[in-house]
Amino acid sequence: MPWKKTKSLLEPGWYFMQGDEACAEGALAAGCRFYAGYPITPASEIMIRMVHRLPEVNGVFIQMEDEIGSISSVIGASWAGAKAMTATSGPGISLMTESIGYAGITETPCVIVDVQRAGPSTGQATRPAQGDIMQVKWGCHGDVEIIAFAPWSVQEMYDLTIKAFNCAERFRVPTFILADEAVGHLRETLLIKEEVEIFDRYKAPGLPPFGTDEPNGVPPMPAFGEGANLLVTGSTHDPWGFRKTADPQIQARLTERLVRKVKDFRAEILLTEGHFLTDAEIGVIAYGFTARAALAAIKKLRQQGIKVGLLRLISIWPFAEEAVAGLGQNCRVIFVPEMNRGQIAGEAKKFTSTPIIPLPKTNGEVFEPAEIVEAIRRNLT
Protein backbone atom coordinates (compact mmCIF):
# COMPACT_ATOMS: atom_id res chain seq x y z
CA MET A 1 0.00 0.00 0.00
CA PRO A 2 1.38 3.48 -0.86
CA TRP A 3 1.34 4.77 2.74
CA LYS A 4 4.49 6.49 3.87
CA LYS A 5 5.82 8.66 6.66
CA THR A 6 7.36 11.98 5.74
CA LYS A 7 8.91 14.78 7.72
CA SER A 8 6.60 17.66 8.56
CA LEU A 9 7.19 20.73 6.40
CA LEU A 10 7.13 23.07 9.39
CA GLU A 11 9.69 22.64 12.16
CA PRO A 12 8.19 20.39 14.85
CA GLY A 13 6.92 22.26 17.90
CA TRP A 14 4.20 24.58 19.12
CA TYR A 15 2.73 27.32 16.93
CA PHE A 16 0.07 29.97 17.48
CA MET A 17 -1.93 29.96 14.29
CA GLN A 18 -5.27 30.77 12.69
CA GLY A 19 -7.57 27.90 11.65
CA ASP A 20 -7.57 28.79 7.96
CA GLU A 21 -3.75 29.01 7.97
CA ALA A 22 -3.46 25.67 9.77
CA CYS A 23 -5.68 24.14 7.09
CA ALA A 24 -3.29 25.39 4.39
CA GLU A 25 -0.31 24.01 6.32
CA GLY A 26 -2.04 20.65 6.72
CA ALA A 27 -2.62 20.52 2.98
CA LEU A 28 1.04 21.24 2.24
CA ALA A 29 2.17 18.62 4.77
CA ALA A 30 -0.13 16.08 3.08
CA GLY A 31 1.57 16.78 -0.26
CA CYS A 32 -0.81 19.31 -1.83
CA ARG A 33 1.05 20.96 -4.71
CA PHE A 34 -1.79 22.63 -6.61
CA TYR A 35 -4.24 25.20 -5.32
CA ALA A 36 -6.86 27.08 -7.30
CA GLY A 37 -9.24 29.49 -5.63
CA TYR A 38 -11.48 32.50 -5.87
CA PRO A 39 -11.80 35.15 -3.15
CA ILE A 40 -14.59 34.57 -0.62
CA THR A 41 -15.11 35.41 3.03
CA PRO A 42 -14.38 33.59 5.37
CA ALA A 43 -12.05 31.25 3.42
CA SER A 44 -9.69 33.73 1.70
CA GLU A 45 -6.95 33.34 4.33
CA ILE A 46 -6.36 29.78 3.08
CA MET A 47 -5.69 31.15 -0.42
CA ILE A 48 -3.40 33.88 0.94
CA ARG A 49 -1.34 31.32 2.89
CA MET A 50 -1.14 29.09 -0.19
CA VAL A 51 0.05 31.82 -2.57
CA HIS A 52 3.05 32.44 -0.30
CA ARG A 53 3.79 28.85 0.68
CA LEU A 54 3.27 26.86 -2.54
CA PRO A 55 6.20 28.43 -4.46
CA GLU A 56 8.47 27.39 -1.57
CA VAL A 57 7.67 23.72 -2.27
CA ASN A 58 7.59 23.97 -6.10
CA GLY A 59 3.80 23.95 -6.10
CA VAL A 60 1.37 25.77 -8.36
CA PHE A 61 -1.09 28.47 -7.31
CA ILE A 62 -3.69 30.14 -9.47
CA GLN A 63 -6.54 32.51 -8.73
CA MET A 64 -9.27 31.55 -11.18
CA GLU A 65 -12.07 33.66 -12.66
CA ASP A 66 -14.75 32.07 -10.47
CA GLU A 67 -15.36 29.03 -8.26
CA ILE A 68 -16.39 26.95 -11.26
CA GLY A 69 -12.95 27.64 -12.73
CA SER A 70 -11.28 26.82 -9.39
CA ILE A 71 -12.72 23.31 -9.03
CA SER A 72 -12.33 22.67 -12.78
CA SER A 73 -8.62 23.42 -12.74
CA VAL A 74 -8.21 21.40 -9.52
CA ILE A 75 -9.67 18.36 -11.31
CA GLY A 76 -7.48 18.98 -14.38
CA ALA A 77 -4.38 19.27 -12.16
CA SER A 78 -5.35 16.14 -10.22
CA TRP A 79 -5.36 14.11 -13.44
CA ALA A 80 -2.02 15.68 -14.35
CA GLY A 81 -0.72 14.06 -11.15
CA ALA A 82 -1.16 16.70 -8.45
CA LYS A 83 -2.58 16.48 -5.00
CA ALA A 84 -4.92 19.41 -5.41
CA MET A 85 -7.20 21.59 -3.28
CA THR A 86 -9.57 24.54 -3.36
CA ALA A 87 -11.25 26.39 -0.52
CA THR A 88 -14.45 28.39 -0.47
CA SER A 89 -17.68 29.01 1.43
CA GLY A 90 -21.32 28.08 0.77
CA PRO A 91 -21.92 30.27 -2.31
CA GLY A 92 -18.76 28.84 -3.88
CA ILE A 93 -19.84 25.27 -3.11
CA SER A 94 -23.09 26.04 -4.94
CA LEU A 95 -21.11 27.01 -8.04
CA MET A 96 -18.72 24.06 -7.75
CA THR A 97 -21.38 21.42 -7.33
CA GLU A 98 -21.59 20.30 -10.97
CA SER A 99 -17.84 19.65 -11.05
CA ILE A 100 -17.97 17.90 -7.67
CA GLY A 101 -20.31 15.40 -9.34
CA TYR A 102 -17.80 15.15 -12.18
CA ALA A 103 -15.01 14.43 -9.66
CA GLY A 104 -17.29 11.76 -8.19
CA ILE A 105 -18.02 9.88 -11.40
CA THR A 106 -14.46 10.22 -12.72
CA GLU A 107 -13.05 9.20 -9.31
CA THR A 108 -10.81 12.25 -9.11
CA PRO A 109 -9.03 12.82 -5.78
CA CYS A 110 -9.42 16.41 -4.59
CA VAL A 111 -9.95 18.29 -1.35
CA ILE A 112 -12.59 21.01 -1.05
CA VAL A 113 -12.56 23.17 2.06
CA ASP A 114 -15.89 24.77 2.94
CA VAL A 115 -15.52 27.45 5.61
CA GLN A 116 -19.24 27.73 6.24
CA ARG A 117 -20.95 31.09 6.68
CA ALA A 118 -24.53 32.07 7.42
CA GLY A 119 -26.83 31.52 4.46
CA PRO A 120 -28.94 31.00 2.47
CA SER A 121 -27.54 32.86 -0.54
CA THR A 122 -25.17 35.72 0.35
CA GLY A 123 -26.55 35.64 3.90
CA GLN A 124 -24.06 36.96 6.44
CA ALA A 125 -20.60 36.60 4.93
CA THR A 126 -18.63 37.13 8.15
CA ARG A 127 -20.85 35.03 10.41
CA PRO A 128 -20.49 31.32 11.24
CA ALA A 129 -22.97 28.59 10.33
CA GLN A 130 -23.14 24.85 9.74
CA GLY A 131 -25.72 25.04 7.01
CA ASP A 132 -23.85 23.16 4.25
CA ILE A 133 -23.94 19.69 5.84
CA MET A 134 -26.59 18.39 3.46
CA GLN A 135 -25.47 20.53 0.53
CA VAL A 136 -22.09 18.82 0.27
CA LYS A 137 -23.74 15.40 0.64
CA TRP A 138 -26.72 15.81 -1.66
CA GLY A 139 -25.91 18.87 -3.80
CA CYS A 140 -25.04 16.84 -6.88
CA HIS A 141 -27.60 15.22 -9.13
CA GLY A 142 -27.31 11.45 -9.07
CA ASP A 143 -25.83 9.44 -6.23
CA VAL A 144 -22.34 10.69 -5.52
CA GLU A 145 -20.63 9.42 -2.40
CA ILE A 146 -18.36 12.01 -0.78
CA ILE A 147 -16.30 12.16 2.41
CA ALA A 148 -16.43 15.07 4.90
CA PHE A 149 -14.77 16.02 8.19
CA ALA A 150 -15.73 18.77 10.65
CA PRO A 151 -12.80 20.21 12.66
CA TRP A 152 -13.46 21.82 16.07
CA SER A 153 -10.02 23.34 16.65
CA VAL A 154 -7.03 24.83 14.90
CA GLN A 155 -5.23 21.54 15.57
CA GLU A 156 -7.93 19.65 13.70
CA MET A 157 -7.91 22.16 10.84
CA TYR A 158 -4.35 20.88 10.35
CA ASP A 159 -4.79 17.19 11.21
CA LEU A 160 -8.10 16.63 9.40
CA THR A 161 -6.87 18.35 6.24
CA ILE A 162 -4.08 15.75 6.13
CA LYS A 163 -6.67 13.01 6.74
CA ALA A 164 -8.87 14.51 3.99
CA PHE A 165 -6.03 14.28 1.47
CA ASN A 166 -5.28 10.71 2.52
CA CYS A 167 -8.95 9.74 2.07
CA ALA A 168 -9.25 11.59 -1.24
CA GLU A 169 -6.18 9.82 -2.63
CA ARG A 170 -6.90 6.44 -1.05
CA PHE A 171 -10.51 6.21 -2.24
CA ARG A 172 -10.38 8.57 -5.27
CA VAL A 173 -13.27 10.58 -3.85
CA PRO A 174 -13.82 14.35 -3.52
CA THR A 175 -13.30 15.04 0.19
CA PHE A 176 -14.54 18.03 2.18
CA ILE A 177 -13.40 19.92 5.21
CA LEU A 178 -16.63 21.29 6.70
CA ALA A 179 -15.16 24.10 8.76
CA ASP A 180 -17.03 27.23 9.78
CA GLU A 181 -16.20 30.90 10.16
CA ALA A 182 -15.56 30.51 13.90
CA VAL A 183 -12.97 27.73 13.63
CA GLY A 184 -11.54 29.21 10.42
CA HIS A 185 -10.79 32.56 12.06
CA LEU A 186 -9.95 31.13 15.49
CA ARG A 187 -6.37 31.54 16.68
CA GLU A 188 -4.96 29.03 19.15
CA THR A 189 -2.04 26.68 19.65
CA LEU A 190 -1.08 24.05 17.09
CA LEU A 191 1.35 21.20 17.63
CA ILE A 192 3.40 20.13 14.63
CA LYS A 193 4.80 16.63 15.05
CA GLU A 194 8.05 15.29 13.59
CA GLU A 195 6.35 13.20 10.93
CA VAL A 196 3.07 12.89 9.10
CA GLU A 197 1.63 9.75 7.55
CA ILE A 198 0.46 10.29 4.00
CA PHE A 199 -1.02 8.21 1.21
CA ASP A 200 0.38 8.62 -2.30
CA ARG A 201 -1.72 7.72 -5.32
CA TYR A 202 -1.84 4.02 -6.23
CA LYS A 203 -0.37 3.25 -9.66
CA ALA A 204 -0.63 -0.04 -11.51
CA PRO A 205 0.13 0.38 -15.24
CA GLY A 206 -1.91 -1.94 -17.42
CA LEU A 207 -4.90 -2.15 -15.09
CA PRO A 208 -8.13 -0.32 -15.97
CA PRO A 209 -8.42 3.09 -14.28
CA PHE A 210 -12.20 3.01 -13.75
CA GLY A 211 -12.97 -0.45 -12.46
CA THR A 212 -11.37 -3.37 -10.76
CA ASP A 213 -11.96 -7.09 -10.33
CA GLU A 214 -11.79 -6.81 -6.56
CA PRO A 215 -15.34 -6.35 -5.38
CA ASN A 216 -14.59 -3.34 -3.18
CA GLY A 217 -11.32 -2.10 -4.51
CA VAL A 218 -10.33 1.33 -5.66
CA PRO A 219 -8.82 1.33 -9.17
CA PRO A 220 -5.29 2.61 -9.81
CA MET A 221 -4.97 6.13 -11.24
CA PRO A 222 -2.47 6.97 -13.97
CA ALA A 223 -1.67 10.60 -14.79
CA PHE A 224 -1.73 12.46 -18.10
CA GLY A 225 1.52 12.11 -20.01
CA GLU A 226 2.33 8.62 -18.69
CA GLY A 227 1.32 6.93 -21.93
CA ALA A 228 -1.91 5.43 -20.56
CA ASN A 229 -4.11 6.95 -23.30
CA LEU A 230 -6.49 7.99 -20.55
CA LEU A 231 -10.13 8.41 -21.46
CA VAL A 232 -11.61 10.55 -18.69
CA THR A 233 -15.28 11.37 -19.10
CA GLY A 234 -18.22 12.46 -16.97
CA SER A 235 -20.47 10.25 -19.05
CA THR A 236 -21.12 6.70 -17.91
CA HIS A 237 -18.06 4.68 -18.93
CA ASP A 238 -16.64 1.18 -18.86
CA PRO A 239 -13.53 0.29 -16.80
CA TRP A 240 -11.28 1.73 -19.54
CA GLY A 241 -13.21 5.01 -19.84
CA PHE A 242 -15.14 4.34 -23.06
CA ARG A 243 -18.51 6.11 -23.00
CA LYS A 244 -21.40 3.68 -22.57
CA THR A 245 -24.40 5.95 -22.36
CA ALA A 246 -27.14 3.40 -23.04
CA ASP A 247 -25.88 0.22 -21.35
CA PRO A 248 -27.95 -0.49 -18.21
CA GLN A 249 -25.47 -3.00 -16.81
CA ILE A 250 -22.51 -0.62 -17.02
CA GLN A 251 -24.54 2.26 -15.53
CA ALA A 252 -25.65 0.03 -12.64
CA ARG A 253 -22.17 -1.36 -12.00
CA LEU A 254 -20.55 2.10 -12.03
CA THR A 255 -23.06 3.82 -9.75
CA GLU A 256 -23.07 0.92 -7.29
CA ARG A 257 -19.27 0.80 -7.15
CA LEU A 258 -18.97 4.58 -6.59
CA VAL A 259 -21.12 4.26 -3.46
CA ARG A 260 -19.68 0.95 -2.29
CA LYS A 261 -16.04 1.96 -2.37
CA VAL A 262 -16.79 4.52 0.37
CA LYS A 263 -19.40 2.55 2.31
CA ASP A 264 -17.35 -0.65 2.45
CA PHE A 265 -14.36 1.21 3.87
CA ARG A 266 -16.32 3.19 6.47
CA ALA A 267 -14.11 1.84 9.27
CA GLU A 268 -11.06 3.51 7.70
CA ILE A 269 -12.85 6.85 7.39
CA LEU A 270 -15.15 7.22 10.43
CA LEU A 271 -13.91 9.34 13.34
CA THR A 272 -15.94 10.01 16.48
CA GLU A 273 -15.08 10.95 20.03
CA GLY A 274 -17.00 10.24 23.25
CA HIS A 275 -17.01 12.45 26.35
CA PHE A 276 -18.69 11.31 29.60
CA LEU A 277 -20.55 8.58 27.73
CA THR A 278 -19.98 5.58 30.03
CA ASP A 279 -22.83 6.39 32.42
CA ALA A 280 -24.70 8.97 30.30
CA GLU A 281 -28.50 8.88 30.36
CA ILE A 282 -28.85 11.99 28.22
CA GLY A 283 -26.93 12.19 24.98
CA VAL A 284 -25.68 15.16 22.98
CA ILE A 285 -24.49 14.89 19.38
CA ALA A 286 -22.39 17.83 18.22
CA TYR A 287 -19.66 18.59 15.69
CA GLY A 288 -17.38 21.41 14.60
CA PHE A 289 -17.17 24.56 16.69
CA THR A 290 -20.54 23.82 18.31
CA ALA A 291 -19.06 20.75 20.00
CA ARG A 292 -16.82 23.03 22.11
CA ALA A 293 -19.85 24.75 23.61
CA ALA A 294 -21.61 21.41 23.97
CA LEU A 295 -18.69 19.92 25.94
CA ALA A 296 -18.54 22.97 28.23
CA ALA A 297 -22.31 22.69 28.77
CA ILE A 298 -22.01 18.99 29.61
CA LYS A 299 -19.36 19.70 32.22
CA LYS A 300 -21.68 22.26 33.86
CA LEU A 301 -24.64 19.88 33.80
CA ARG A 302 -22.49 17.14 35.33
CA GLN A 303 -21.67 19.52 38.22
CA GLN A 304 -25.44 19.80 38.72
CA GLY A 305 -25.70 16.00 38.89
CA ILE A 306 -27.24 15.47 35.46
CA LYS A 307 -25.71 12.49 33.63
CA VAL A 308 -25.05 13.92 30.18
CA GLY A 309 -22.53 12.70 27.61
CA LEU A 310 -21.25 13.97 24.26
CA LEU A 311 -20.83 12.07 21.01
CA ARG A 312 -18.68 14.29 18.83
CA LEU A 313 -18.80 13.59 15.13
CA ILE A 314 -15.41 14.31 13.58
CA SER A 315 -16.24 12.67 10.28
CA ILE A 316 -19.64 13.81 9.00
CA TRP A 317 -19.89 11.80 5.76
CA PRO A 318 -20.10 8.85 5.65
CA PHE A 319 -22.39 9.14 8.67
CA ALA A 320 -21.40 7.45 11.95
CA GLU A 321 -24.65 5.50 12.12
CA GLU A 322 -23.38 2.76 14.48
CA ALA A 323 -22.16 5.34 17.00
CA VAL A 324 -25.50 7.15 16.86
CA ALA A 325 -27.41 3.88 17.23
CA GLY A 326 -25.21 2.96 20.23
CA LEU A 327 -25.85 6.33 21.85
CA GLY A 328 -29.57 5.78 21.34
CA GLN A 329 -29.41 2.43 23.13
CA ASN A 330 -27.82 3.91 26.22
CA CYS A 331 -29.66 7.23 26.46
CA ARG A 332 -33.32 8.09 26.91
CA VAL A 333 -33.10 11.33 24.91
CA ILE A 334 -30.54 12.92 22.55
CA PHE A 335 -30.03 16.64 21.99
CA VAL A 336 -28.43 17.95 18.80
CA PRO A 337 -27.24 21.57 18.93
CA GLU A 338 -26.11 22.78 15.51
CA MET A 339 -25.84 26.05 13.57
CA ASN A 340 -28.56 25.11 11.08
CA ARG A 341 -32.23 24.09 11.24
CA GLY A 342 -31.59 20.48 12.23
CA GLN A 343 -29.63 18.85 9.42
CA ILE A 344 -27.71 16.30 11.52
CA ALA A 345 -30.62 15.88 13.95
CA GLY A 346 -32.71 14.68 11.02
CA GLU A 347 -29.98 12.32 9.83
CA ALA A 348 -29.53 10.87 13.33
CA LYS A 349 -33.28 10.04 13.50
CA LYS A 350 -32.73 7.46 10.75
CA PHE A 351 -30.59 5.31 13.06
CA THR A 352 -32.24 5.39 16.48
CA SER A 353 -35.76 5.31 17.88
CA THR A 354 -34.64 7.26 20.96
CA PRO A 355 -36.27 10.74 20.92
CA ILE A 356 -34.03 13.31 19.28
CA ILE A 357 -34.48 16.96 20.19
CA PRO A 358 -32.93 19.39 17.70
CA LEU A 359 -31.42 22.58 19.10
CA PRO A 360 -31.13 24.67 15.95
CA LYS A 361 -29.46 28.07 15.96
CA THR A 362 -29.31 30.25 12.86
CA ASN A 363 -28.76 33.82 14.04
CA GLY A 364 -25.20 33.97 12.74
CA GLU A 365 -23.70 33.50 16.20
CA VAL A 366 -21.97 30.52 17.80
CA PHE A 367 -23.55 28.61 20.69
CA GLU A 368 -22.87 29.74 24.25
CA PRO A 369 -22.50 26.82 26.70
CA ALA A 370 -25.15 28.43 28.92
CA GLU A 371 -27.86 28.27 26.27
CA ILE A 372 -27.22 24.54 25.70
CA VAL A 373 -27.37 24.02 29.51
CA GLU A 374 -30.63 25.93 29.64
CA ALA A 375 -32.16 24.17 26.62
CA ILE A 376 -31.39 20.72 28.04
CA ARG A 377 -32.68 21.62 31.53
CA ARG A 378 -35.87 23.11 30.07
CA ASN A 379 -36.55 19.98 28.04
CA LEU A 380 -35.95 17.68 31.01
CA THR A 381 -38.42 19.33 33.35
Binding site: M64, E65, I68, S72, S73, N229, V232
Partner: protein, 250 residues
Protein backbone atom coordinates in the same frame (compact mmCIF):
# COMPACT_ATOMS: atom_id res chain seq x y z
CA UNK B 1 -8.00 7.91 -44.82
CA UNK B 2 -4.22 8.17 -44.63
CA UNK B 3 -2.95 4.99 -42.83
CA UNK B 4 -0.71 7.15 -40.61
CA UNK B 5 -3.81 9.00 -39.42
CA UNK B 6 -5.70 5.75 -38.83
CA UNK B 7 -2.94 4.66 -36.44
CA UNK B 8 -3.74 7.70 -34.30
CA UNK B 9 -7.38 6.70 -33.86
CA UNK B 10 -9.15 4.32 -31.46
CA UNK B 11 -10.94 2.51 -34.26
CA UNK B 12 -12.94 0.40 -31.77
CA UNK B 13 -14.90 3.62 -31.17
CA UNK B 14 -16.04 3.64 -34.82
CA UNK B 15 -18.45 4.45 -36.33
CA UNK B 16 -18.12 8.08 -35.28
CA UNK B 17 -21.28 9.63 -33.84
CA UNK B 18 -21.34 12.35 -36.51
CA UNK B 19 -24.29 12.73 -38.91
CA UNK B 20 -23.77 12.30 -42.66
CA UNK B 21 -22.42 15.58 -44.03
CA UNK B 22 -21.18 16.88 -40.67
CA UNK B 23 -18.03 18.98 -40.89
CA UNK B 24 -16.52 17.50 -37.73
CA UNK B 25 -15.10 14.43 -39.52
CA UNK B 26 -13.09 16.72 -41.78
CA UNK B 27 -11.92 18.67 -38.73
CA UNK B 28 -10.93 15.45 -36.92
CA UNK B 29 -8.83 14.49 -39.92
CA UNK B 30 -7.30 17.98 -40.13
CA UNK B 31 -6.30 18.04 -36.45
CA UNK B 32 -4.59 14.62 -36.67
CA UNK B 33 -2.92 15.58 -39.95
CA UNK B 34 -1.53 18.75 -38.34
CA UNK B 35 -0.26 16.73 -35.34
CA UNK B 36 1.32 14.13 -37.64
CA UNK B 37 2.98 16.71 -39.90
CA UNK B 38 4.35 18.53 -36.84
CA UNK B 39 5.65 15.14 -35.61
CA UNK B 40 4.26 15.64 -32.12
CA UNK B 41 4.22 12.60 -29.82
CA UNK B 42 0.54 11.86 -29.17
CA UNK B 43 1.57 10.28 -25.85
CA UNK B 44 2.64 13.71 -24.63
CA UNK B 45 -0.57 15.40 -25.76
CA UNK B 46 -3.75 16.01 -23.81
CA UNK B 47 -7.02 16.78 -25.61
CA UNK B 48 -9.63 18.47 -23.44
CA UNK B 49 -13.22 18.91 -24.57
CA UNK B 50 -16.54 20.06 -23.14
CA UNK B 51 -20.01 18.83 -24.04
CA UNK B 52 -21.55 18.70 -27.50
CA UNK B 53 -20.86 17.11 -30.87
CA UNK B 54 -17.46 18.77 -31.29
CA UNK B 55 -16.36 17.51 -27.86
CA UNK B 56 -16.55 14.00 -29.31
CA UNK B 57 -13.92 14.75 -31.97
CA UNK B 58 -11.02 13.83 -29.64
CA UNK B 59 -12.90 11.74 -27.06
CA UNK B 60 -12.70 8.76 -27.38
CA UNK B 61 -11.24 8.80 -30.89
CA UNK B 62 -7.69 10.07 -30.33
CA UNK B 63 -5.00 7.68 -29.08
CA UNK B 64 -3.80 10.24 -26.56
CA UNK B 65 -4.89 11.37 -23.11
CA UNK B 66 -8.37 12.83 -23.39
CA UNK B 67 -10.39 14.70 -20.78
CA UNK B 68 -14.06 14.98 -21.69
CA UNK B 69 -15.29 17.54 -19.16
CA UNK B 70 -18.50 19.35 -18.30
CA UNK B 71 -20.42 21.72 -20.53
CA UNK B 72 -18.37 24.91 -20.92
CA UNK B 73 -15.50 24.04 -18.62
CA UNK B 74 -12.87 22.58 -20.96
CA UNK B 75 -10.52 25.59 -20.80
CA UNK B 76 -10.63 25.71 -16.99
CA UNK B 77 -9.87 21.97 -16.71
CA UNK B 78 -7.10 22.36 -19.30
CA UNK B 79 -5.64 25.27 -17.32
CA UNK B 80 -5.12 23.07 -14.26
CA UNK B 81 -3.52 20.23 -16.22
CA UNK B 82 -1.22 22.54 -18.19
CA UNK B 83 -0.08 24.50 -15.11
CA UNK B 84 0.78 21.37 -13.16
CA UNK B 85 2.51 19.63 -16.06
CA UNK B 86 3.80 22.25 -18.55
CA UNK B 87 5.44 19.47 -20.61
CA UNK B 88 2.02 18.36 -21.82
CA UNK B 89 0.90 19.74 -25.16
CA UNK B 90 -2.68 20.67 -24.26
CA UNK B 91 -5.30 21.15 -26.97
CA UNK B 92 -8.92 22.09 -26.32
CA UNK B 93 -11.43 20.96 -28.97
CA UNK B 94 -15.03 21.98 -28.44
CA UNK B 95 -18.02 23.68 -29.99
CA UNK B 96 -19.18 27.27 -30.26
CA UNK B 97 -21.97 26.96 -27.69
CA UNK B 98 -19.68 25.17 -25.25
CA UNK B 99 -16.74 27.57 -25.52
CA UNK B 100 -18.44 30.91 -26.10
CA UNK B 101 -21.82 30.71 -24.38
CA UNK B 102 -21.86 28.52 -21.25
CA UNK B 103 -18.04 28.62 -21.17
CA UNK B 104 -17.60 32.24 -22.27
CA UNK B 105 -16.03 33.33 -18.99
CA UNK B 106 -13.26 30.71 -19.17
CA UNK B 107 -12.65 31.57 -22.86
CA UNK B 108 -12.00 35.27 -22.23
CA UNK B 109 -9.97 34.62 -19.09
CA UNK B 110 -7.87 31.94 -20.78
CA UNK B 111 -7.16 34.44 -23.55
CA UNK B 112 -6.42 37.23 -21.02
CA UNK B 113 -3.92 35.01 -19.19
CA UNK B 114 -2.40 34.03 -22.55
CA UNK B 115 -1.94 30.54 -21.09
CA UNK B 116 -0.20 28.11 -23.45
CA UNK B 117 -3.21 26.25 -24.84
CA UNK B 118 -4.39 25.58 -28.38
CA UNK B 119 -8.15 26.09 -28.51
CA UNK B 120 -9.96 24.73 -31.57
CA UNK B 121 -13.56 25.90 -31.71
CA UNK B 122 -15.72 23.95 -34.14
CA UNK B 123 -18.37 26.53 -34.98
CA UNK B 124 -21.54 25.05 -36.48
CA UNK B 125 -23.60 28.07 -35.34
CA UNK B 126 -26.20 25.90 -33.61
CA UNK B 127 -26.75 23.59 -30.62
CA UNK B 128 -26.64 20.42 -32.69
CA UNK B 129 -26.67 17.59 -30.15
CA UNK B 130 -29.68 18.92 -28.25
CA UNK B 131 -31.88 19.47 -31.28
CA UNK B 132 -30.97 22.65 -33.13
CA UNK B 133 -31.50 25.52 -30.68
CA UNK B 134 -30.21 29.05 -31.35
CA UNK B 135 -26.60 29.69 -30.25
CA UNK B 136 -24.55 32.80 -29.46
CA UNK B 137 -23.06 32.31 -32.94
CA UNK B 138 -26.25 31.79 -34.99
CA UNK B 139 -26.52 34.34 -37.86
CA UNK B 140 -29.30 36.95 -37.68
CA UNK B 141 -32.54 35.75 -39.19
CA UNK B 142 -31.68 32.02 -39.05
CA UNK B 143 -34.45 29.57 -38.28
CA UNK B 144 -33.77 27.32 -35.29
CA UNK B 145 -35.99 25.30 -32.99
CA UNK B 146 -35.99 28.19 -30.49
CA UNK B 147 -36.20 31.01 -33.06
CA UNK B 148 -39.18 29.90 -35.18
CA UNK B 149 -39.55 33.46 -36.50
CA UNK B 150 -35.84 33.92 -37.18
CA UNK B 151 -32.96 34.79 -34.86
CA UNK B 152 -33.22 38.40 -33.68
CA UNK B 153 -30.01 38.43 -31.57
CA UNK B 154 -26.74 39.34 -33.33
CA UNK B 155 -24.02 36.65 -33.08
CA UNK B 156 -20.57 36.90 -31.57
CA UNK B 157 -17.59 37.42 -33.84
CA UNK B 158 -15.54 34.87 -31.89
CA UNK B 159 -12.17 35.90 -33.33
CA UNK B 160 -12.68 39.57 -32.46
CA UNK B 161 -13.89 38.59 -28.99
CA UNK B 162 -10.90 36.36 -28.22
CA UNK B 163 -8.41 38.78 -29.81
CA UNK B 164 -9.77 41.65 -27.69
CA UNK B 165 -9.48 39.46 -24.59
CA UNK B 166 -5.73 39.05 -25.18
CA UNK B 167 -5.11 35.88 -27.19
CA UNK B 168 -1.80 36.01 -29.07
CA UNK B 169 -2.77 33.78 -32.02
CA UNK B 170 -6.26 34.11 -33.50
CA UNK B 171 -7.44 32.63 -36.80
CA UNK B 172 -10.55 31.45 -38.63
CA UNK B 173 -10.72 28.67 -41.21
CA UNK B 174 -13.44 26.41 -42.55
CA UNK B 175 -13.75 22.71 -43.31
CA UNK B 176 -14.62 23.67 -46.89
CA UNK B 177 -10.93 24.48 -47.44
CA UNK B 178 -9.00 21.75 -45.61
CA UNK B 179 -5.51 22.60 -46.89
CA UNK B 180 -5.33 26.09 -45.35
CA UNK B 181 -7.14 24.65 -42.32
CA UNK B 182 -4.31 22.15 -41.65
CA UNK B 183 -1.73 24.90 -42.26
CA UNK B 184 -3.42 27.17 -39.70
CA UNK B 185 -3.79 24.37 -37.14
CA UNK B 186 -0.06 23.65 -37.42
CA UNK B 187 0.75 27.30 -36.73
CA UNK B 188 -1.65 27.33 -33.79
CA UNK B 189 -0.11 24.16 -32.32
CA UNK B 190 3.38 25.61 -32.64
CA UNK B 191 2.37 28.93 -31.08
CA UNK B 192 3.45 29.48 -27.48
CA UNK B 193 0.59 31.22 -25.70
CA UNK B 194 -3.17 31.20 -26.12
CA UNK B 195 -3.90 30.13 -29.72
CA UNK B 196 -7.52 30.21 -30.86
CA UNK B 197 -8.73 28.75 -34.15
CA UNK B 198 -12.38 29.11 -35.08
CA UNK B 199 -13.26 26.42 -37.60
CA UNK B 200 -16.53 26.85 -39.49
CA UNK B 201 -17.94 23.33 -39.58
CA UNK B 202 -21.49 23.23 -40.91
CA UNK B 203 -24.33 21.21 -39.40
CA UNK B 204 -26.62 20.00 -42.20
CA UNK B 205 -28.94 18.12 -39.81
CA UNK B 206 -29.86 20.87 -37.40
CA UNK B 207 -28.91 24.09 -39.19
CA UNK B 208 -28.87 23.35 -42.91
CA UNK B 209 -32.23 21.67 -43.36
CA UNK B 210 -34.05 24.43 -41.46
CA UNK B 211 -32.39 27.18 -43.48
CA UNK B 212 -32.92 26.16 -47.10
CA UNK B 213 -29.66 24.23 -47.53
CA UNK B 214 -31.11 21.09 -48.99
CA UNK B 215 -27.90 19.05 -48.78
CA UNK B 216 -24.49 19.13 -47.06
CA UNK B 217 -23.03 19.98 -50.48
CA UNK B 218 -25.02 23.21 -50.58
CA UNK B 219 -23.62 24.27 -47.20
CA UNK B 220 -20.05 23.61 -48.32
CA UNK B 221 -20.72 25.44 -51.60
CA UNK B 222 -22.15 28.39 -49.68
CA UNK B 223 -19.05 28.48 -47.46
CA UNK B 224 -16.73 28.41 -50.47
CA UNK B 225 -18.61 31.17 -52.29
CA UNK B 226 -18.97 33.46 -49.32
CA UNK B 227 -15.57 33.08 -47.68
CA UNK B 228 -12.91 35.69 -48.18
CA UNK B 229 -9.34 35.81 -46.99
CA UNK B 230 -8.60 38.51 -44.44
CA UNK B 231 -5.98 40.05 -46.79
CA UNK B 232 -8.41 40.31 -49.69
CA UNK B 233 -10.99 41.87 -47.41
CA UNK B 234 -8.74 44.82 -46.66
CA UNK B 235 -9.93 47.96 -48.43
CA UNK B 236 -13.41 46.59 -49.11
CA UNK B 237 -16.37 48.63 -47.90
CA UNK B 238 -18.72 47.37 -45.16
CA UNK B 239 -21.37 46.87 -47.87
CA UNK B 240 -19.02 44.69 -49.91
CA UNK B 241 -18.19 42.64 -46.78
CA UNK B 242 -21.85 42.11 -45.88
CA UNK B 243 -22.52 38.39 -45.34
CA UNK B 244 -18.90 37.41 -46.03
CA UNK B 245 -16.96 35.01 -43.78
CA UNK B 246 -13.41 36.26 -43.25
CA UNK B 247 -10.76 33.55 -43.12
CA UNK B 248 -7.11 33.84 -42.05
CA UNK B 249 -5.15 35.14 -39.10
CA UNK B 250 -6.25 38.20 -37.20
Amino acid sequence: MNPKIMEMINTQAFPTPFCPGCGHGILMNAILRAVAEMEYDLQKMLFVSGIGCAAWIPSPHFKADTLHTLHGRAIAYATGAKLYNPNLKVVVVSGDGDLSSIGGNHLIHGARRNIDLTVICANNSIYGMTGGQVASTTPLGSLTTTTPQGNKEPPFDLCRLVKAAGATFVARQSVATPVPLVRTLKKALAHVGFAFVEVISPCPTQYGRRNAFRSPYELIKYLRENSLSAEKAQGLSPEQLQGKILLGEF
